[in-house]
Amino acid sequence: MNATSTRKPSHVFTAFLIAGLVLSLLALYWIFLRAPTEAMMGIVQKIFYFHVPAAICMQTLFFLCAGASAWVLIKDSDRADRLAHAAAEVGVLMAAFVLITGPLWARKAWGHYWEWEPRLTLTMVVLFMYVAYLALRSFTGGAGHGDATRRIAAGLAIAGAPGVYLVKIAVEKWRGTHPRVIWSGGLQDPDMLTAFLLGIGAFVCITVSLVWMRTRLRATEDAAEGLLLDLIERDIVEERT
């Protein structure tokens, strides 16, 4: 029997999702009712409070994907493979948020939506790399199948990690128009800082629960594929090419 059992929903991760929603509501309250409007950029600066947490989650998830992919290459672990796949998919969602909300902010702050400066360009390149990873994964079967594709995808995920690191250091190392706020004491107003920290808390909790849900979905996909193979072996269903 090739099938693996599907996992029941975990209370821990349900708690993460609920905590994420509660923190999101708190963050929205702080952002719109407590944090002051920024003097230079006006109300559009409030995009910052979810734009940056999405970017932090994106970078963490892509690193997680690369780390889990390395584990796939070393140990051929199905669990690590599921985690890598889930991290990449949720990471691409976060990257999409970053690359949509950033230009909306830039339109007001810089006067145009896009600029080919280091951080923006690298973020786009990294997004394309992990979209390519997901495209490659769509050709891979479940557990024990499409091993070559799985390994090539793992290699691609690892190759994307230096790009993610460059996104992180781009503003500190190379000049560009992207603002440098957090580590240079740019958030000194306590209400602005609280709104930012609540935004981070909300995004981290939501991200953890989304990755877990996506991992569970992959486990169920693998179980279904395993069962299907068992049925084909017994000639109950016919294999389609």
Binding site: A3, T6, S10, V12, P36, T37, E38, A39, M40, M41, G42, I43, V44, K46, I47, F50, H51, A54, I56, T60, F63, L64, L93, A96, F97, I100, T101, L104, W105, K108, Y165, K168, I169, V171, E172, W174, R175, G176, P179, R180, V181, S184, Q188, D189, M192, I206, V208, M213, R214, T220, E221, A223, A224, L227, L231, R234, D235, I236, V237, E238
Partner: protein
């Protein structure tokens, strides 16, 4: 289960730390001029509202659509798994095979 979750959370925190540490160190090195967010001291003309609204709408719509999509796919797959398990059990019990697919 709690132990594994704890390890996962510790790994996440360590990853976040590893991500932020180079930024904190490199902040001293130069690069782009630091930006300071300054609170407006008086009520100014507020424009840019549609951009703000669009940004938040994209994030929340995206999150809820993805969450809904995951739940829907999970429910469908669990139903498929149950059907396949049933077919396999019936076959193994010698009660006959399901229809050819």
């Amino acid at each position: 289960m709690i132990g594994r979750t704890f390890r996962a959370v510790v790994a996440l925190v360590l990853t976040l730390g590893a991500l932020w540490a180079p930024g904190a160190m490199a902040a001293e090195d130069g690069g782009t001029e630091p930006t300071q967010f300054v609170a407006a001291t008086h009520q100014e003309k507020i424009d840019g509202g549609p951009f703000l609204l669009a940004a938040y709408a994209v994030i929340w719509a995206g999150l809820f659509l993805y969450l809904w999509s995951l739940q829907r796919r999970q429910a469908k797959l669990e139903s498929d798994v149950a059907t396949l398990r049933d077919a396999l059990t019936r076959y193994d019990a010698g009660k006959g095979a399901g229809p050819k697919a």
